[in-house]
């Protein structure tokens, strides 16, 4: 940027050319009143308050006027004051509000400007003051809209449009009756509003305010505990409760943006349903007990099950330090590698496939790079629902000119922004991606130099492509060859290109192959090891990456060091001063059969609800019933807890110190904001206490920082981690392929269940924006917004079955049946129905197929065959 010199109120100022007068002034500490300007949005010059005089008397709007060399600007003059004062007087005369009962008053821009211009109430009394009170929109459970306090700056409208691309609200009406409202002046909750609250945080006055505002006594900087994005937040604390959440504008991940769950969903922390004391089941009934007694019972029992009769299922919600301690407990104290975490249900195929091909099981680039990419292939991910803040970045990339290819059998929100949308039958991704690869090879769009230099096994891969003729791919996927070819061309010719995926890719009996196919595609076009181009697996849970990195895996020690490698084992034996079990353990999903086969007798379950979340969940319930000893450690009494013998109350993310590793492998500090609720304790404390009581060595930690140091010393992957460093920054650990990337020849394998006469429909599952497991159930507002559990069905199928909107149907698979209400929509492909997977009333995983991916052991949750029967 060129530097130019301008004068503002007589002082010479060096400014960047291209900046506006207002930007330059604000940057230099010169305040120019403004209401409709916001640095994140395009200036619209509507409030007219930021007028200034340039070059001897011309009045201009400073938020839109670019500075020019030598420009002389006056921000104060009688002429300016006349206009500004009139505007403020008009606004206040029309502002039906008493600052004393406005929660915004301390941050109110209108009040600030009124003070700045020395607002004279007597003068303003000459005006006719508004009398009519307009109705407030209080329909949204999290925030209210009050037109009486609105100044119509339009910041909310532009935020919704420019930042979220949603456009739920706009100016409606004309002239003096204009107001901001959803289409048709309907209540907000009936609009397409996604309740992200981005407008609420930007509203300069009290027109959009959160409900039930309690002013926090202090704020604590930490990380959101919902999805894997890892947004930085400030928790507002009052009386040992979380009363507010504010996006951290300095966070490189979210830059202050948050989604509905992150911003308004923290009340689970102080939910009255929190477990506040240990429970022991006696005669089929749970009774509260002391920690001492509960731990004594657990220690007593576990002492009998050391070795491979014991399995530990770890959470993706715990901190890195906790995950480390948990796996250390399983290995060093219980002497078993039967330790796994629930990323097995979603992420494992990605981890396995990436390890095998590029050497590192993680995202290859940072989230922020997405905004600058030239092409995004979003496959098997409903990113605006599952990772809404990453969704914002995808939409921003599109606004910046990136091409967007969506591959999804369902019509997702992102389809509105896409250049091309491919709609394959569920479970046919390998064929689709191989088909695209085939086009790229055929048309010579591949990056030969990159392949030559950086990859192996290309010839084998190329040969395997021959099986994927356009005709066959078209038949398998149901997507026309022209569209596949077009998508291939868009992907191959717009570089750098990023591939985003999540569970739509992994939750298949061939999930690992799906990921292989995507890696092949990226390497084929040289989209690897480049800024803004590469692979973006999106993890569903806040610390799924960390739980795996920390070795809560049956075959890996922390830092992906193989259990079967004697050298590695020796290192850990030396470090932990104990003999370790050399046999890899069982996966999360294999545990249940092992219990039924009486190989495993005791199971310790931390922060996960397998009775609900695993495909074919009845079998899990059966196993839980059969197990001799079950411990559940959680913040809530979940479905699985019903089967436990002992339930231990854990502390939530807001109550402990530690680190999370987000989906881009950024290690971020989590801080204790409140004291643990009730008698609950952080997971690491519970486990360390147990370990010590069971005679374990090396569990004398007094603070997670000490655990972090041990991790850094033993897992090279986390070598640089220390709490001193993490105090003010996060650690980005990105890995581009070292050595050579491996191409994988692939065959198409259909889903293990395909529709037949008896079960003629395919059921697929998807995330609901307002749902994220047990945490979100405890947030009343999210339950309101979520509404009923629906099964979405194409109008053609609905007609075939003679069912309509709102009707209750029974959905039956080979494994069970549930009921749900029908929503007839074109968003579903004919022959495919879809449901969320978060409901207790309609537990979808009763139906889904537990068949595992042979390598990653992830169940085929995304595709199963069902039939529907209208309830009579």
């Amino acid at each position: 940027m060129d530097k130019i010199t301008i004068t503002i109120d007589g002082s010479d100022i060096v400014a960047e050319s291209g900046a506006t007068i207002l930007e330059v002034a604000l940057k230099n500490g010169i305040y120019i009143p403004h209401l409709c300007y916001h640095p994140d949005l395009k200036p619209i010059g509507a409030c007219r308050l930021c007028i200034v005089e340039i070059d001897g008397g011309k009045l201009v709007i400073s938020c839109r006027m670019p500075v020019k060399q030598g420009m002389s600007i006056k921000t104060k003059s009688p002429e300016i004051d006349k206009v500004r004062r009139a505007i403020i007087e008009l606004l206040i005369a029309n502002h039906h509000a008493d600052c004393r009962d406005c929660t915004k008053s301390r941050q109110c821009e209108l009040l600030k400007i009124a003070t700045f211009i020395r607002f004279d109430r007597k003068r303003a009394r000459r005006l006719r003051w508004a009398k009519e009170e307009l109705p407030r929109d209080t329909s949204n459970p999290f925030f209210d809209m009050d037109p009486n306090r609105c100044v119509l700056c339009g910041i909310c409208v532009r935020t919704c449009e420019e930042i979220q691309g949603v456009g739920a609200i706009n100016f409606i009406g004309r002239g003096y009756t204009s107001k901001i409202a959803p289409f048709g002046d309907k209540p907000l909750v009936q609009s397409r509003c996604i309740s992200c609250g981005e407008c609420v945080v930007r509203c300069p006055v009290g027109a959009l305010v959160p409900k039930n505002v309690q002013r926090p006594e202090r704020e604590v900087k930490t990380i959101c505990s919902y999805c894997g994005t890892g947004c930085g937040v400030y928790l507002g604390i009052r009386d040992n409760a979380v009363v507010s959440v504010r996006g951290d504008t300095d966070s490189p991940v979210n830059r202050g943006n948050l989604c509905v769950k992150g911003r308004f969903g923290a009340s689970f922390v102080n939910s009255s349903d929190r477990l506040i004391a240990p429970l022991i089941k006696r005669k089929g009934k749970f009774t509260k007990t002391s920690w001492d007694e509960a731990l004594a019972v657990v220690v007593d029992k576990l002492a009998k099950y050391k070795g491979d009769q014991f399995a530990l299922l770890a959470s993706t919600k715990c901190t890195n330090e906790e995950s480390y301690v948990i796996q250390k407990f399983a290995r060093a104290v219980m002497n078993t590698n039967n330790i796994d975490n629930c990323a097995r249900l979603c992420y494992a195929p990605t981890m396995v496939a990436l390890h095998e091909t590029i050497g590192v099981g993680a995202m290859t680039n940072s989230i922020s790079e997405l905004e600058k990419t030239s092409c995004i292939l979003a496959i098997g991910t409903n990113v605006t629902r599952a990772h809404p803040v990453i969704g914002i970045k995808v939409k921003r990339a599109v606004r910046n000119g990136a091409k967007l290819i969506v591959v999804n059998p369902k019509e997702i929100d992102l389809c509105r922004f896409t250049d091309i949308w491919l709609r394959p039958y569920p479970g046919t991704d390998v064929a689709l991606i191989m088909g695209m690869s085939q086009v790229i090879v055929d048309e010579g769009l591949l990056d030969n130099a990159f392949i030559e230099e950086n990859c192996e096994d290309f010839e084998e891969f190329r040969e395997s492509l021959e099986d994927f003729s356009p005709g066959r791919v078209e038949r398998i996927t149901g997507v026309s060859r022209e569209i596949i070819a077009e998508a291939a061309r868009i992907y191959a010719t717009n570089k750098p290109a990023a591939i985003l995926w999540s569970t739509g890719i992994t939750q298949h009996s061939h999930g690992t192959d799906n990921v292989f196919a995507l890696v092949n595609l990226a390497m084929l076009t040289g989209n690897m090891g480049k800024p803004s181009g590469g692979l973006y697996p999106l993890l569903g849970e806040n610390n799924a990456q960390g739980a795996c990195d920390m070795g809560c895996l049956p075959d890996f020690y922390p830092g992906y060091q193989r259990v079967t490698d004697p050298g590695v084992r020796g290192k850990f034996e030396a470090a932990w001063d104990v003999d370790l079990n050399p046999t890899p353990g069982l996966a999360f999903t294999e545990t249940w059969q092992a219990i039924l086969d009486e190989k495993i007798k005791a199971v310790y379950i931390i922060g996960v609800d397998p009775a609900l979340s695993i495909a074919g969940s009845q079998r899990v319930r059966e196993a839980l019933r059969k197990a001799e000893f079950v411990v559940v450690q959680d913040i809530f009494f979940n479905e699985t807890a019903k089967f436990a013998h002992v339930v231990l109350p854990a502390a939530s993310f807001a109550e402990k110190e530690g680190t999370f590793t987000n989906t881009e492998r950024r290690i971020q500090r989590v801080r204790r904001a409140i004291e643990p609720v009730g008698d609950s304790r952080p997971d690491w404390e519970i486990i360390c206490e147990l370990a010590k009581r069971l005679g374990g060595k090396g569990f004398d930690f007094s603070h997670p920082g000490e655990i972090a140091s041990e991790i850094a010393s033993i897992a090279p992957l986390y070598g640089g981690m220390s709490y001193d460093r993490l105090e003010n920054e996060s650690l980005e650990r990105l890995h581009t392929p070292s050595g050579k990337g491996k191409f994988k020849p692939l065959e198409f394998r259909p889903p293990t269940e395909v529709p037949d006469v008896e079960y003629p429909l395919v059921l697929t599952t998807e995330r609901v924006l307002y749902r994220h497991g047990a945490l979100s159930w405890k947030v009343e507002g999210l339950n309101i917004l979520k509404g009923k559990e629906l099964v979405e069905i194409n109008p053609r199928d609905a007609a075939n079955y003679g069912i309509g909107h709102g009707q209750i149907v029974r959905i039956i698979s080979r494994r069970g049946e549930i009921k749900a209400e029908v929503k007839v929509t074109d968003a579903s492909l004919p022959g495919v129905i879809s449901m969320g997977f978060h409901s207790i009333e309609s537990p979808t995983n009763v139906l889904t197929n537990p068949t595992l991916d042979p390598v990653a052991k992830t169940p085929e949750s995304k595709v199963c065959a069902v039939r529907i029967v209208p309830q009579t």
Partner: protein
Amino acid sequence: MSNRRCTVLICQGTGCISGGAEQIFSSLEEEVTRLNLGESVQIKRTGCHGFCQRGPLIVIEPESIFYSKVKLDDVPEIVQSLLPEGKPLERLFYHDPVTGKPIPHYGDIPFYNKQERTVLRNCGHIDPEDIGDFLAVGGYEALRKALFDMTPEQVIEEVKHSGLRGLGGAGFPTGRKWEACRVAPGEEKYIICNGDEGDPGAFQDRSTMEGDPHSVLEGMIIAGYAIGAKKGFVYVRAEYPLAVKRLKIAITQAREEGFLGKDILGSGFDFDIEIFQGAGAFVCGESTALVLSIQGKRGMPKPLPRPRTAEAGLWDKPTLLNNVKTFANIPLIINRGWKWFASRGTEKSKGTAIFSLTGKVANCGLIEVPMGITLREVIYDIGGGIPGGKAFKAVQTGGPSGGCLPASFLDMPVDFDSLITAGSMMGSGGMVVMDEDTCMVDVARYFLDFTRRESCGQCIPCRLGTEQMFEILDDITKGQGRPEDIELLLELSDAIIHGSLCALGKTAPNPVLTTIRYFRGEYEAHIDEKWCPAGVCRELIKEKGSSPETVGRK
């Protein structure tokens, strides 16, 4: 005369239709058929003649006999009069309001003989639904000339030299706009014809589109050729169904005849026109709001500084946006040359101006006059003066944002610049005459009531300022005015003019400012003496004779 041939032109403009002209038209046809006069008598629909107050109107050619206020019952007699032995019906003649003398011929009527109908040359004379009529009067000759004898640059030069200024109100030099659009980089360019005539009381754009749609289309096609556009839009308010219908017919016929579409007249030039119906927002007459409206967005003007529409308009492509009348002038300029056009009007306002003359004037209607004509000529000669022997009080020009000028301005020439100097404007071409029975505070209140409703709502001075001014004016007319209100109105006007985002706000205070400037006494009477001198404001009517001396002070 055994072989007499005549044409009965019956106005089918919106005004005459509301007076029953459609039924008269059908009845005339039936009567002619019944009497088997088809050979000698032709019944033809035309667009608006302009003298709407006297409608339904019939003109019988070739003699140019002019019948006004025709009723359905008159039809048999009219047809009888067309028979060889028939005589013109004197009772349907226009009668001079002063002398009472009947005037049989169109051209002799004072309403017409001071006018210079060039843009409206075809209105009332040709059938707007028949391209053949238009071609018969030389239609699309200008297009032919432009396409085959002129380069686009020459067309633009011609328009520039003519001195034509945009007739939408602002009076921006048309040629310069065309040139800016031509040189603006970009392959894709658009033409937009602004037919969103939103002013209450203005109907010249409507009449032009209804009465002579092909002239507008021809102007647009020539403009497309000149700037390098292939696509044009006519933005018409949905409240103008007849204009939409006639334009649709005209576009279809023009396509059939090869004046629109691919390879126009074999010249290799492609151009097509689409009609876009607006939803009736006044502010959508503003160019940037209109463009957003076509794009399917809420019509709200974009603030300065911004690129001109000529550089980044519709879908951010260079876009030429001109008023209906501006386009209708183009064929004339191309056909007759810039010198002819520039020879009329004043030095800085060339050609003619079209006004919708309404209010307290004997002859209401649509008039076209040379620029520079005085208000007195318009009101007294063309308009026939103030009816009922009342005194002239003021004339308001330019629509709701124009100003009210008192009698002292009657000899002022009417052109863009003089009107602005006087505190009013050409605007949409509305011209409302007011007599002594008009309350000027009430007039100001009326116009502010319009602007406060039609403000787009985004900018604060306009949205809240016009509302505030209305509230104050409303209070004044109800006897609740406060002594400081006049100063307050002036202060608010100043802030609105300097603070508003677009011309709607910047001009909205004009009716208030001019009424205060020229009729301050009336405001004072309302506020101080709680008395409405004109006897209009209901709460402030007092017994005769109680008139304080302040009344009429200027």
